[in-house]
């Protein structure tokens, strides 16, 4: 792919990915609040209604239970709906359809009823307090039957959205508000976005920065923070490998173990709640695969089982940042 273009941000990349898939397959449609006329509150469906009409890019009432359930019926009719739940936090009002229908119908029907649905939603904290700042990938990941992905760059956002739409499985596609609002020029990785249609596999982690001393396994907006932390740590002679997981379900164990065989140290950085989530899963899985002797250290750093507070000082105290990630790496003993 040679038609390289630098200047597109995550929201444009998602919209472009969707546009190309909608051009390629007339069964793809986008359903959600403000996705049409406004092109999404973050612009990640911008231009689609103009291009494909108001029936294929449907502005809905605030009726998540109804329109998420609609996706189930549409999928049974051969459509490939992309349902936008504006913020990941709002899934609560329609979770029933997500975990009882979308995630289970393929299984309960003995494989006869695939649910090629994308649940596209924005997670992450940008100052919006407890009801609008969750990422929730651990919650979705807990429900069998859902693929769960969260890209970290414009390049991956476009390619993973395309792959999600093409997937016969339901995919929970979690964008990050901070990344959606970030300028294209502020990304330190994944800025080359081909103009044409391409996919990024939904189950491959990506080594964004190679290093020898410790593997930071993370995803979404924390990848950028981990890269910044790695730069700071490099000055102290600590060589950090940054592994962008990209997918929570499934986890790319080949990629993860390959990195850990090299560094023998694992730090999981997770903007989601730490308890009963991605970090526990990753560390346990790594030990299961490499054995207790296969690693020199495991540790985790994330949102410390506390709702995200409103005030900036409190928010900074609970969320991972480049500085806190660097601190966590030092505490993990990677520098010794």
């Amino acid at each position: 792919m040679d038609a390289i273009r630098q200047n597109i941000n995550v929201s444009q990349a998602v919209a472009e990915g969707l546009r190309l898939e909608m051009e390629a397959d007339e069964h793809v449609l986008v359903i959600g609040e403000d996705v049409g006329r406004q092109g999404g509150v973050f612009g990640s469906t911008r231009g689609l209604q103009k291009a494909f009409g108001a029936e294929r890019v449907l502005d809905t009432p605030i009726s998540e239970m109804a329109f998420t359930g609609m996706a189930v019926g549409l999928a049974m009719e051969g459509y490939r709906p992309v349902v936008e739940i504006m913020f990941a936090d709002f899934i609560g009002v329609c979770l029933e359809q997500v975990f009882n229908a979308i995630a289970k119908n393929p299984y309960m029907s003995g494989g006869a009823t695939p649910m090629p649905i994308v649940i596209k939603t924005a997670g992450g904290a940008i100052g919006s307090a407890a009801q609008h700042s969750q990422t929730l990938w651990g919650l979705y990941a807990h429900l069998p039957g859902l693929r769960v992905v969260a890209p970290s760059s414009p390049h991956d956002s476009k390619g993973m959205m395309a792959a999600a739409v093409q997937s016969p499985d339901p995919v929970v596609f979690i964008e990050h508000k901070g990344l959606l609002l970030k300028k294209a020029s502020s990304f330190s990785h994944g800025t080359d976005v081909p103009r044409e249609r391409y996919t990024v596999p939904l189950d491959r982690a990506h080594v964004v920065r190679e290093g020898r001393d410790v593997t930071i396994a993370t995803l979404s907006a924390s990848v950028g923070d981990a890269l910044d932390a790695a730069e700071a740590l490099a000055l102290d002679g600590i060589d950090v490998e940054v592994l962008d997981l990209r997918s929570v379900v499934p986890l790319d164990w080949d990629g993860i173990t390959a990195s850990l065989r090299k560094t023998r140290r694992l730090l999981v950085v997770d903007e989601d709640y730490l308890g009963f989530g991605l970090s526990g899963e990753l560390i346990t899985g790594a030990i299961e695969r490499l054995g207790l002797d296969g690693l020199d250290s495991v540790s985790r750093h994330g949102l410390a089982n506390v709702p995200v507070p409103a005030s900036k000082t409190l928010e900074q105290a609970v969320l991972p940042s480049a500085a806190s990630i660097a601190r966590a790496v030092r505490e993990s003993g990677a520098g010794r």
Partner: protein, 311 residues
Amino acid sequence: MREFEEACARGVAERHIHGEVHLAIGQEAIGAALAGVLRDSDAMVSTHRNHLHAIAKGVPLHPMLAEIFERATGLCGGFGGHMHLFDPARRFSTTGIVGGSLPVALGHAYAARLRGDDAVAVAVVGDGSVNTGGFAESMNMAGAMKLPLVVVVENNEWAISVPFSQASATATIAERAAAFGARGVRVDGLDYERVREAFIDAVDSARAGGGPVIVEATCYRFRGHYEGDLDLYRDQGDKESRREQRDPLAMARAELLESGAADEPELARIDEEVRAEIGGLVQRVLADPFPDPETARRHVFASGLDLPAGV
């Protein structure tokens, strides 16, 4: 109310507030009409666009503004922020989840039934919320149980970029009341007197055991959905003309002057007083401390249970 909200708008512009803020500028006649009608024992549950309702319920201004400005002296110590105001003493709360305020108000209404007193519960919601499952379920239960629930719908015609006309099967919200065994009235929400009459009537009727009432007050929001919203989805000419010709504040002013209830110097003096009061409030809030980062884990559990960060 206008002055308070303009102070919030400046708070965003000047980066004293780092989260989003939803203002109800242009909808003040409704907020004003709700003011002073309820008792502390009556509950009010509001939404993301909640400042005017909090003021109407008597939530004190300093802790309220301090919460919006994310200060330790705020109503919730800076843990809640603008969208999540809680004042238990006045039975006032909010939610940022559209439709989420209705079932909560239903609970307050049932509490009144359980206690056997004549308290009412008021849910103030936007037109968008009436399309949620929570609205239909709550209204049906309130109707079936004849609970003292008053739902005030601020129908500002828009749910972010989606117009009510496109999102609703019925032309009005008031007409939906019949399906729930409730009374429904629709009033001009720019007209303070009309809204106040309708609201007092609804509260009296619910208090007297008449069952749920929906008061639909029509209005228009002057600002974007939140501060920073470019608001490109609405017709700019229409917006301008409404701001110029249908400003409830200007309309109320004109009426006061016309009826002789007040004269220009008096209104100017009130303006001056309010500006000084809110200005002083902002200065006070800006001098207030931010919450101590060390306290971030406080309040996760009311028991004080503090799980270590690991689990």
